[in-house]
């Protein structure tokens, strides 16, 4: 057994060790004689390395990568790098002396489901006492509460053939598809190709295959890439580990990349997982899968033990024994459960079983018992166990298919497959090298030559899943589930395997029962007297191996969680010290504080009063703008709006109410007619997308024959509300047209030009109740135009105002907005019932006449507190003064509230039952959640200029 001079320094639990290039943490620890690497989940039993791959149930450690702890990482998949720091988990105060191992002594109390039975009362203790106590006593590693400093990436790949697994079958399939010129992606979770071929002395076929693949530019080989899930429509999820094996990764390199792979077809060459046998005390450090022994001995040159034994039940186990012997391993016993002729070249114990083991922190001896009951103890420090192989069929099951049991193979194989998926090689029970290549040839119609192999009959095996005995025999190492637990759960009525899984936690946690499931099912089958096919399997779901949350998030984290939309005047607003608020993805200026203002209300009140008294400018670009053109544009708008639009004259704008098909109010806005066949529809900011989608639906699905063309122009125009008594003066200074009341009356619109010749659009519409305009210019000029308006309006005290003042102004005027258009309000509720025209058809008109809606007497009205010092809040419910705050007494609720500098107190809008007859009445507005009660007077929703004289001035 050869191994280079160790040169890579690493630490485990603070102790420094050295490993060699190509080592995993597991192989390096074993090479350094470290056996005890973990404590078990529940009983805190000493545990060692059990496998050599991603199926590892025991050796979970915390890796401190770039200073950040990553718990529950499998030592068997961590590639060693200089400076690697790993620590054990779930032990206190130390791995060797773990006080929590008292649980093992008390294991009879901690059988499956014990906490369901033990911690039943008092119920309130569950969250405060029992759960924290259980979590402290049992469990895996502890997550850091700090943000993960690494960054992650995402990507999308497309191919003709996705091959999952780079072992013999996968390599053969890649060559065949590569030869045919197909676009191939070959993924393997390990750092190098070859799968278990890497554990053979003869590397000839593997080297040739790799050379051949290197010649195909159409074959993309992705190592360190785990395909973790099969999804619909030929989509597969995969994660590539980019930097976890590097001591000093590039700062820009993502730690992992999540790939969404779309494949015309997928060939699964995922191999098979070796199965353990549950026998008494089968979990001591030093006991591992036989194939893992072979991997460590041949691939890594690690002598796992001085005296090594094997416990097998099939022919392939003998091949493993011979490979180990050839590699120089000192085999002291090959315990074979089969009644088979004795191999003369091996210390072969036939028709025998391992019935117990010794060794507190590491294996010291095994007890071998022959079929006649004669037992003997043999000293050994490593035991390889092989109870057969389970084809790795997880990826065939993620869309719902269940595998079927094959008696000949003693394992589950895939039967029904997702569209476009095939299974080859060991994953399909075709284990030998030549069988793997034959299956690839058959699957992809190839003609790769078959190498000469020693024939091994996979059916030459006895079905052996567990060995009876008094000591605990572990079925699921990661969850500390024993044969006794399976029995107990069966006795307690867990007949279905799904119940067994949930009651015992068998097959859960990071390894998802890769080494446990089949053994658990077999034990369950034996107990129920059923066959394994009758017992069935649990469902495999993605991911195949754990995927970090960071990889799923990719670049979408922190402030980059979603895109940010900036208004055209964003820079100017920033320079003016604006405070921003998120409105959907938009960042909008909420208010513009002056240096002398220390509290937000001071800024907002000032901005509101500026609009009421002089003129304010607000960026309203975020409101949706939909360009509607076509011969039938007017007829179309007549249908999508509840009120009529057919006769709207060119050059005029109309307020419109849109209903959903169920008659509920959807959105309000305006439509401006720029030409006979050309309108610009505006929507609320929140509903810009949904209104456009609704209009497309109405056109494409309900009225496809209408000549209508729609496109969003929200982003194309920077639009500013210019509101206040001085707005006309300000607008007249920048627009090259007559904007007098006579020439450009209320609700007029025009395509025009600024005085410098720039194209513009002008609308005389008001959201504040004041004389107001909305003026739009091409978006690239929006930032400077905002500055220019304030500059040229300086003598008019032109004031920038934000969304908060915008909200106060519209509440003062009684305009409905998102708070009122809440998906439950009808046109009647909003006081807009008369807008639903019966003179024409319109979306939602008929449904809006349903009795349930018609009989709803709630109307939008205003409220002000009797005591002006009291504050109203949106969401408060309305009750008669003497009524108890209970649902049956509810009269309605407040939708919007604000402090009105115009009124001098808090004001609110809200829906109130029988509102018309309650004008002037006093009610109480309550918020039981905040324990607030305010006496309010019911009033008109129009706190400002109820006659509308200002906006028509």
């Amino acid at each position: 057994m050869t191994r280079p001079q160790p040169s890579i320094r690493f630490t485990f639990d603070g102790q420094t060790y050295y490993g060699v290039p190509g080592d995993t943490l597991a192989s390096a620890l074993l090479a350094n004689g470290v056996r005890l690497v973990a404590r078990s989940f529940k009983y805190h039993r000493p545990r060692g390395i059990f496998s050599a791959g991603s199926e590892e149930p025991n050796a979970l450690v915390t890796v401190h990568h770039q200073g950040h702890p990553e718990p529950n990482t499998r030592a068997t998949t961590i590639e060693l790098y200089d400076g690697l720091k790993a620590t054990s988990q779930s032990a206190w105060p130390s791995l060797r002396f773990d006080l929590m191992s008292v649980n093992d002594r008390l294991s009879s109390m901690f059988a499956a489901g014990f906490y369901y039975k033990t911690f039943m009362w008092p119920a309130k203790f569950w969250e405060s006492l029992y759960e924290p106590m259980i979590r402290r006593a049992a469990g895996l590693g502890v997550l850091s509460t700090n943000p993960d400093p690494s960054h992650y990436d995402k990507g999308f790949l497309h191919c003709d053939v996705l091959i999952v697994g780079g072992g013999a079958a996968g390599l053969a399939a890649a060559q065949i598809a590569g030869q045919k010129g197909q676009r191939v992606i070959l993924c393997d979770e390990q750092p190098s190709l070859g799968g278990r071929l890497q554990d053979e002395q003869d590397q000839q076929w593997l080297e040739k295959a790799q050379d051949a693949l290197a010649g195909y530019s159409n074959v993309r080989v992705m190592t360190r890439t785990t395909v973790f899930g099969t999804f619909d429509h030929g989509v597969y999820g995969a994660v590539t580990s980019n930097t976890e094996h590097l001591a000093s990764p590039d700062r820009d390199a993502p730690k992992q990349t999540l790939w969404k792979i779309t494949a015309v077809r997928c060939v699964l060459a995922t191999g098979a997982l070796e199965r353990p046998i549950a026998f008494p005390n089968n979990d001591r450090p030093g006991i591992m899968l036989a194939g893992a022994l072979q991997t460590y001995a041949i691939r890594h040159g690690v002598e796992v033990g001085q005296r090594v034994a094997l416990f097998i039940n099939h022919e392939q186990g003998l091949a493993c024994a011979r490979a180990l012997q050839a590699a120089g391993v000192n085999l002291v016993a090959v315990v074979d459960a089969r009644d088979t002729p004795k191999a003369t070249d091996l210390p072969h114990f036939v028709d025998a079983q391992v019935t117990n083991t010794k060794g507190r922190h590491a294996l010291k001896a095994i007890q071998i018992t022959a079929s006649d009951g004669q037992g003997q103890w043999i000293a050994c420090d490593a035991l390889g166990v092989s109870g057969g192989w389970s084809p790795n069929v997880q990826l065939t099951c993620h869309t719902g298919a269940k595998p079927v049991w094959d008696d000949g193979l003693n394992g589950f194989v895939a039967k029904s497959l997702p569209p476009g998926q095939s299974v080859i090689g060991s994953a399909n029970g075709q284990y030998a090298l030549d069988a793997c290549i034959r299956s690839a040839n058959e699957c992809l119609e190839g003609d790769l030559p078959l190498p000469k192999c020693d024939a091994v009959d996979p059916s030459n095996a006895v079905a052996l899943f567990h060995v009876p005995g008094k000591a605990p025999a572990f079925v699921d190492f990661q969850n500390d589930v024993t044969v006794k637990d399976v029995k107990l759960s069966h006795q307690e009525g867990m007949i279905s395997v799904e119940h067994l899984k949930r009651y015992t936690t068998l097959g859960m946690a990071t390894d998802q029962g890769k080494t446990a499931n089949v053994v658990g099912l077999a034990v369950m089958a034996e107990l129920t007297g059923k066959t394994i096919p009758e017992t069935g399997t649990t469902v495999f779901r993605p991911p195949y191996t754990p995927v970090s949350m960071g990889a799923l998030a990719g670049r979408s984290r922190g402030k980059d969680f979603k895109p940010t939309r900036l208004t055209p005047s964003h820079q100017a607003a920033t320079q003016r010290g604006a405070v921003f608020v998120e409105v959907g993805n938009w960042l909008r200026a909420q208010w513009f504080p002056l240096p002398s203002e220390t509290q937000w209300r001071q800024s907002v009140d000032r901005e509101v009063l500026a609009v009421r008294q002089s003129v304010g400018v607000c960026d309203v670009t975020t409101l949706g703008k939909i360009d509607v053109q076509g011969r039938d544009a007017a007829e179309f708008l007549n249908l999508v709006y509840a009120n009529g639009f057919k006769k709207l004259p060119v050059g005029k704008t109309r307020y419109g109410l849109m209903l959903r098909e169920d008659g509920i109010a959807m959105d309000d806005g305006t439509a401006a007619r720029l030409a006979e066949d050309h309108f610009v529809v505006t929507t609320t900011t929140a509903n810009a997308v949904s209104v456009y989608r609704h209009m497309e639906f109405v056109h494409q699905c309900l009225y496809p024959d209408l000549d209508v063309h729609m496109i969003s122009t929200t982003e194309g125009w920077a639009q500013f509300a210019i509101a206040g008594p001085q707005s006309r003066t300000l607008v007249s200074r920048v627009v090259d047209m007559d904007v007098s009341n006579e020439a450009f009356e209320f609700m007029a619109c025009a395509e025009t030009r600024l005085k410098n010749g720039l194209r513009a659009r002008l609308f005389r519409i008001s959201f504040s109740g004041e004389l107001a305009y909305e003026l739009a210019v091409p978006a690239r000029f929006g930032n400077d135009f905002f500055n220019y308006l304030l500059e040229v309006g300086q003598d008019l005290q032109a004031t920038p105002y934000g969304t908060e003042a915008l909200g106060v102004l519209r509440i003062e005027k009684g305009h409905a907005a998102g708070n009122e258009l809440n998906g439950q309000a009808t046109a009647q509720n909003l006081g807009l019932g008369r807008m639903v025209s019966d003179l024409k058809d319109g979306i939602g008109r008929v449904a809006s006449r349903r009795p349930a809606l018609i009989d709803d007497t709630r109307r939008l009205v205003g409220f002000k507190p009797i005591d002006p010092s009291q504050t109203l809040m949106g969401g408060m419910h309305l009750l008669n003064l003497n009524a108890k705050a209970a649902a049956e007494n509810d009269l309605g609720y407040l939708t919007s509230a604000a402090f009105s500098p115009h009124v001098g107190s808090s004001i609110a809008l809200g829906f109130l039952a029988d509102a018309e007859s309650r004008m002037g009445e006093q009610l109480k507005a309550v918020s039981p959640v905040d324990n607030i009660e305010v006496i309010v007077e019911v009033c008109s929703a129009h706190f400002v200029d109820p006659e509308g004289e200002r906006l028509r001035a």
């Binding site: 990764p249 410098n756 690239r780």
Partner: protein, 183 residues
């Protein structure tokens, strides 16, 4: 009244990493064209005579300076330089055969080029890399933002809604750097 100063859709570009380059092209006028099945032939003939041969589904016809790309059934976008005639898009007249809408400032155009164009695009959008060739025009998503990707002469023109230009630049810059770091 003074002339107004243009504000670029993003001030965080160009991004240059190795031979990869992301540049905003603000001298680009856009106009959308929408017609119906009955009038498509007429529109194709008219626009062809105006120097804008219309492409087929998910295709573009054009050069870096001028062209057309497919947007949807009977819908195209035309592009040309902006500054020589800022009013071109607003005033283009298709004689009632189609609706036209100026889209110049609705979208910001970014040109992405370099030897790793395909592998950078793989990190950005769910677009089959084999299709990233001159002539492509498709709608896809980059970092949750709906974009058009139009490939002309080994350059990917990415059209992003103007308000989200900074987010796009951030995403593309991240993908370029990540790609280089793991290459």
């Amino acid at each position: 009244m003074r002339n107004l100063i243009e504000m670029p859709a993003s001030s965080t570009q160009p991004i240059v990493v190795g031979d990869m380059r992301l540049t905003m092209v603000d001298d680009c006028a856009l106009v959308s064209v929408s017609t119906d099945a009955m009038r498509t032939a007429g529109v194709i003939e008219l626009l062809s005579s105006m120097g804008y041969p219309l492409p087929g589904i998910e295709q573009n016809t054009g050069s870096a300076d001028q062209g057309a790309f497919w947007m949807g059934p009977h819908q195209w976008m035309l592009w040309r330089d902006y500054r020589s005639d800022p009013d071109w898009a607003a005033e283009i007249d298709l004689q009632g055969l189609a609706a036209t809408t100026e889209q110049t400032d609705a979208w910001a155009r970014f040109d992405l080029s370099g030897s790793a164009l395909v592998s950078v695009m793989e990190r950005l959008c769910n677009l089959d890399s084999a299709r990233i060739q001159t002539g492509l025009a498709t709608r896809t998503q980059i970092h949750h933002v709906g974009v058009f990707v139009v490939v002309v002469d080994a350059v990917a023109q990415i059209y992003v809604p103007r308000s989200m230009a900074d987010s796009l630049v951030h995403a593309v810059a991240g993908a370029i750097r990540a790609n280089l770091a793991v290459a």
